[in-house]
């Protein structure tokens, strides 16, 4: 009934959907807010994107809609109105009824949300039993219908599978099916596609959008990925440090972002259509309790004036249905999505090959995972290895780096063939080829100080030691935009972006000629990704370092690489200069990848 009532344009007094009023979540026992002053309306059938970086409180807002706060935090004020009823004021028994039945939640990691020891079909039937849907005869059919709705097979074979027998995208769609089975009115999706590759992501997003429109369900889509939001959301709320800083229709947010934070965020995102000089946002997201007075963004904002430091600005309308929390929103001028674009890498530039890979076959035991891959890397050039998960891109990079030894073929450094494992290679070759890992939370020893970590390659390769080495560490840290105060820190005290900078400094400490970057930005926030890419580009130009850049993000490739190798199931399907491959893809697979990649331009 609610679905046909009205479009999202009328903001006043909505009868369906969900209204969040003045929500505040505090840390238990402390006078510190996690999120504050959240006002949000979800109209029926509308998808609202809630965007923010880690630590912005977006997930806290998401779970608050179900009246839930994680341990250590408490919902201290505000209302969540579901058809005039306040979810937060309900008795827990009623709230339990509402959760799942009227407001459903799809978690970030569905693999851990499904019970690993119960078959899929049984889980779907159980859910209906719990919610009192249908009869014992009709529930199995209900499960089948639910799976059909999300585009999954619904034969007996599939129903009798366990969660681990499904792929990541299938698991996520099962979670969607479970969320939709009780016919909820509101859906909260917490980064449901993070960790899925673009093809699967596109499929899950399409399924979700279709279901929302078909059933008139309003959805809150929590994510850090602006490009995804640009594709699926009707309206967008941008969060920073626990507050909504900008809220408006999708097109307004992307064509006329009016908060400096939104603009900075958009500046840090690569585009598919054109290379960009990406920039990061200086500093880091303040944690609850450490947020500056006044406007919470003032210490990182390039437009800040004294007045910004005194009072918290209110969320005020700047245009129709477009609200901004910035006192200077009218003064900071207009913005253009194509700001910061630079010419694509020149495909005709002469190349001086430094690293060549020929006829590479890689095995894991008896499994043949990479088939006859050949490519080369020139001086001061970035070559990107792109593919979905399971395409073998990381396997190739690990073989080149000597971390995986089970391979055949030739990997040659200036014509000089490299041994299989790092230990069998000469010290000089080890020094010249450095590897940076995907997850900076795992690649730095948490017990060592930053100084010890960065110094080690210098000692090992006899570049410097003692006082001289310490001076070099300071210089390197400076180069990766970290202060000398970090020297005595242990890695556990740094944020993800800072850790990745330390990892880069460690790679640079060996004075390498080639750096292998294995998805080094995929675990980081977009603004941090922007600054890391900025840093790498600078290093490439100054030091003439070549990079093998492994990624699944095609937009990022456009901005950082000059050549690209598209991989599918362990084979190179298309290769060439970035401009040619991305503007005139010859292979269907490349075209599919490009079409499935979310784009904001």
């Amino acid at each position: 009934m609610t679905a046909t009532e009205q479009g999202p344009a009328t903001a006043k007094a909505p009868t369906g959907g969900l209204v969040v009023e003045d929500l505040e979540v505090m840390l238990t026992g402390k006078d510190v807010d996690v999120v504050d002053d959240i006002d949000l309306v979800l109209h029926p059938g509308e998808v609202v994107g809630l965007v923010g970086e880690s630590g912005s409180g977006k997930t806290t807002v998401g779970t608050s809609l179900l009246g839930y706060s994680r341990a250590g935090a408490v919902i201290s004020a505000g209302k969540v109105l579901l058809e005039e009823r306040d979810v937060l004021a309900m008795h827990w028994r009623d709230m339990r009824q509402v959760r799942g039945e009227e407001i459903a939640y799809v978690p970030q990691d569905p693999a851990s949300a499904l019970n690993p020891s119960i078959r899929i079909g049984k889980q779907l039937v159980e859910l209906q039993e719990l919610r009192g849907i249908g009869t014992s005869e009709s529930r199995r059919q209900g499960a089948r219908d639910g799976l059909a709705e999300v585009g999954l097979p619904n034969d007996d074979e599939f129903l009798s599978r366990y969660a681990h027998q499904l792929s990541g995208g299938q698991v996520q769609r099962v979670a969607l099916a479970m969320a939709f089975l009780p016919k909820p009115k509101v859906l909260v999706l917490d980064e449901p596609t993070t960790g899925l590759d673009v093809t699967t992501q596109a499929m899950v997003l399409a399924t979700m959008a279709e279901l929302c429109r078909a059933h008139g369900v309003s959805a809150l889509y929590v994510t850090h990925d602006l490009a995804v939001v640009a594709n699926i959301a009707d309206r967008v709320a941008v969060m920073y440090a626990g507050q909504i800083v900008e809220l408006g229709p999708r097109d307004a947010i992307f064509s006329n972002p009016s908060h400096p934070y939104t603009r900075a965020l958009l500046d840090s995102i690569p585009h598919l259509s054109q290379a960009r000089a990406l920039t990061g946002i200086p500093g880091r997201t303040p944690a609850p309790g450490a947020r500056p007075a006044g406007c919470r963004f003032n210490d990182r904002c390039s437009f800040a004036i004294d007045e910004c430091r005194t009072a918290v600005p209110a969320l005020l309308p700047i245009a129709d249905a477009h609200d901004v929390r910035c006192i200077r929103a009218h003064e900071i001028g207009s913005w253009d999505i194509s700001r910061g674009t630079v010419p694509d890498a020149d495909p005709d530039k002469p190349r001086e090959v430094i690293l060549s890979v020929e006829g590479l076959d890689v095995f894991y035991g008896r499994t043949h995972v990479v088939h006859d891959v050949s490519f080369d890397l020139a001086k001061a050039e970035v070559v990107a290895l792109v593919g979905e998960s399971g395409s073998g891109k990381t396997t190739i990079s690990r073989s080149v780096g000597g971390l995986h030894k089970d391979w055949k073929g030739t990997i040659a450094f200036e014509g000089d063939p490299l041994a299989r494992g790092a230990r069998q290679r000469s010290a000089l070759n080890r020094k010249r080829l450095q590897y940076i890992f995907q997850n900076p939370y795992l690649s730095l020893n948490p017990r060592l100080t930053i100084e010890q970590i960065v110094k080690r390659p210098m000692e090992l390769f006899g570049i410097a030691k003692g006082k001289e080495a310490t001076d070099r560490v300071v210089a390197l840290l400076d180069q990766v935009a970290l202060g000398p105060a970090m020297l005595r820190y242990q890695a556990s005290r740094l944020s993800g972006g800072e850790r990745q900078r330390v990892a880069i400094a460690r790679a640079l400490a060996a004075e390498p000629d080639v750096i292998i970057c294995d998805e080094i930005t995929s675990a980081l926030d977009v603004s941090v990704q922007g600054s890391i890419v900025e840093l790498l580009e600078g290093l490439r130009q100054e030091r003439g370092i070549s990079m093998l850049f492994v990624t699944h993000n095609l937009a990022l490739v456009r901005s950082i690489a000059s050549r690209v190798e598209i991989l599918q199931r362990g084979r190179v399907v298309e290769a060439g200069p970035v401009v040619e491959v991305m503007d005139n893809p010859r292979e269907d697979y490349t075209r599919t990848l490009l079409n499935n990649s979310p784009r904001i331009d």
Binding site: Y435, S443, N445, Y489
Partner: protein, 290 residues
Amino acid sequence: MSAEAVTPPPTEPPIAPAEPSTFRKAMKQKRFVAGLGITLLLVAFVIAGPYLAPFGETEVAGPPFSKEGVLGTDYLGQDVLSRVMYGGREILLIALFGTLLGMVLGIAIGIVAAYAGGWWDEVIMRLNDVVLSFPQILLALLVLTALEQPTAWILIVLVGVSHAPRVARLARGVALGLVSRDFVTAAEALGEKRTRVIVAEVLPNMNAPLLAEGGLRLTFSIGFVGSLGFLGFSADPGAANWGQMIQENGLGLPTQPWAVLAPVLIIAIFCIGTNLMADGIAQVAQRGEA
């Protein structure tokens, strides 16, 4: 998830306090402080005991099982209090060194097995299982009955060897989670020596669980050495020994219970002290690995 919110690293502090060590964190735990206090007091008692004892170790103070002196006399008429004050040194030394030996051996075996992986891991751990399948005390008795008179060193080795496989299992488990971490791979990519990877990269990340295990092993050692004494195996049968005292004076339990109770209680308190310490460290270890 909550850890990042609770400890926000300040943006630019001039002097950054380092991450507190496991010991510092443990000092904030009541049970650790209590355990440490009890243990230190008892160690002081054991060390200072012989100098403060009212009677000599084998000096006859009165008739057997009489009420003379603070805690009465034992089956030979020796003063029980003095015997208790003398009797801890052997237990303490053997338990301590035995535990150390067991920890070192066990950690070495466990880490090497985890780091080597594959066949080496299988062979080492299956051999370990063979030793593990013997009850601790049985293995020691087997050796001891074959010997005329064990020396303190033999007892230490026995305690150590009987602990090693148990420590090795734990050490391997902890190390397995670490050797696959990227920072170990990163060290290998740089071409670090294997011994350095183990000592400088893997080992420092294991200290909290290993400390907890060490405390627990020390508790077992004390009980173990006490039991050996009770069964009549000690470096010097004439000398006072808590475990031996329990057995020697068992006959007089109805008339002179203190001759048995005093060594029993002191072993119990010792075990409680070391156990509380181990427990405190274990709690820190669980919380600290975030």
